[in-house]
Subunit: 306 residues, 2 copies
């Protein structure tokens, strides 16, 4: 049934799906963990997939950690994982600037120390990380000092985001040759108890509005993260499963790249969200309908250990 | 000729237009001054209009000054003007919260000390003005301290805008009963030499994106500023001329309120911009076509002094 989508993944379907794939890409928050707690059973799922000969990767829009930091967090929670299996937007945006843009020059970074570190790891210098306080009483905003070697502006999550940084980004981006990259467009970071804090998408929207330009976005749902991974490991999309909790990022990227897609209900999106996309008949929304869904990835465990 | 729009205002047309109106509303920056320099002849135009019995008002989206500060700036440049003739968004947003929203409670203010002052002038307390620095190493963003008396979030120009403020606004606005108001949506403040700095529209877009809500905007092109003025002075729209340099704010508000409209070319928009709107045939864009245009408001002078 070629048209069948959004199926509950259960019974013999689980084994059939697992037999048909070689690679599994997991989003992290809401999929294998929530905040600092592993989803019950998730480490066993990941470790069993590997024992069954599958290649496993971790693909996250979160830009606040380096690959090293992710590998440490994964290990602490009992996941068998290496740095090289982690594709976060801190690493991927550095790779994008290096490999795709062939950047010669520095980056003006609105982002975390982790992003600074990943840029350094590929040999790119940055200015901008950390606080950028207002000094003095009267600031000549249009003539703030700029670094002439800056050839790109990169926007990721930055708790030190400020009017000063927004203004510097505008001044750099007034040069139309200045490259403009964003890690991701997630507007909120959902937290336990229905709470949320502003996501990188808010900061990026402010910079895009000021600069009157649109950033090249590296994170899901854009293809770049999968391309980056695939260029290193040579994945066959048809034999790759993307597992995520968000329809508009994880599942859409999977669809965009021709992967099989699995929605897990331990995070943001619901089955009702998916069926609404499906019913809409709108071609752009069909990419947000997953092939399968599970309550939790723990449901894969019996088939893996059977 | 009912359909005739975007006419060069010259010759006898000037006197005819002036005879047909009782009130003139001037935008400020780009119209009567540029930065700290009066447009040559502008003070004479304003003062002569008054001598000829016209009522003159100053209507600006800029939220960084109180009415008092505007009156002082006008006087210094030689304009005959009183506080009561100034309708800026600092004053108008305070009036909006007071009169339209009937706010009982405090405002969380992303904005200037001038906005704080105008709120106080109508008896509204605010929290938020000034820097809101990050203290400590690890911040529990979703649980930052909030003021339980805050019943509205107001966003204007704020050089201390920061992730902390964006986050606080999100937390307040998570309560759907919290009122959400923005002064204006101008995305850039244009400066001399083709330079620009980020405008309030960038900050408002960030807060709207984080809160997943749309602000009620007080400034032009919205009707509220004219309504506010008209409720105090009883203006007849058909006998009122709006003079501005921006099609998307000044001229559009004029059209929205049934005023006569005059574009002056000493600021942002050009005649070419106006004719493009006119040619588009698009109903939403026709409101951005002025009735008349002049190179500078100084061109009104001979008719006033004749």
């Amino acid at each position: 049934m070629a048209m069948s989508k959004c199926n509950r993944l259960c019974g013999s379907l689980i084994g059939e799906l697992l037999d048909s794939i070689e690679n599994v890409l997991f989003d992290c928050d809401g999929v294998i963990w929530r905040g600092d707690q592993a989803i019950p059973g998730a480490p066993d799922v990941v470790n069993s997939l590997k024992k069954n000969g599958k290649r496993v990767f971790f693909v996250t829009n979160n830009s606040t950690k380096t690959r090293r930091m992710y590998a440490d967090k994964l290990a602490k929670m009992g996941f068998s994982a290496t740095e090289e299996e982690v594709f976060g937007t801190a690493y991927c945006s550095a790779m994008y600037l290096k490999s795709t843009c062939k950047l010669k020059g520095k980056v003006y970074l609105i982002g975390s120390n982790a992003m600074k570190q990943e840029l350094l790891n590929v040999g790119i210098e940055q200015v901008g990380a950390g606080p950028d306080p207002i000094t003095g009483v009267q600031i000549d905003w249009a003539n703030v000092p700029l670094d002439a070697e800056v050839k790109a502006v990169l926007v990721g999550f930055d708790e030190h985001f400020s009017y000063m940084k927004l203004n510097r980004a505008l001044q750099y981006l007034s040069n139309t040759e200045c490259i403009f990259v964003g890690t991701n467009t997630d507007t909120r970071l959902p937290l336990e108890g229905g709470k949320a804090v502003p996501g990188t998408g808010c900061l990026l929207k402010a910079v895009e509005t000021a600069a009157q330009r649109t950033a090249q976005v590296v994170g899901k749902p854009n293809r770049f993260m999968f391309n980056c991974l695939s260029s290193q490991y040579g994945l066959d999309p048809a034999k790759t499963l993307m597992v995520g909790d968000r329809l508009d990022t994880d599942i859409l990227m999977g669809s965009n790249c021709g992967l099989k897609t699995l929605l897990t209900l331990t995070g943001v999106s619901t089955v009702a969200d998916a069926t609404e996309h499906q019913k809409s008949g709108c071609p752009e929304r069909l990419g947000m309908v997953p092939d399968y869904f599970v309550e939790s990835i723990a449901e894969l465990l019996p088939a893996l250990q059977g």
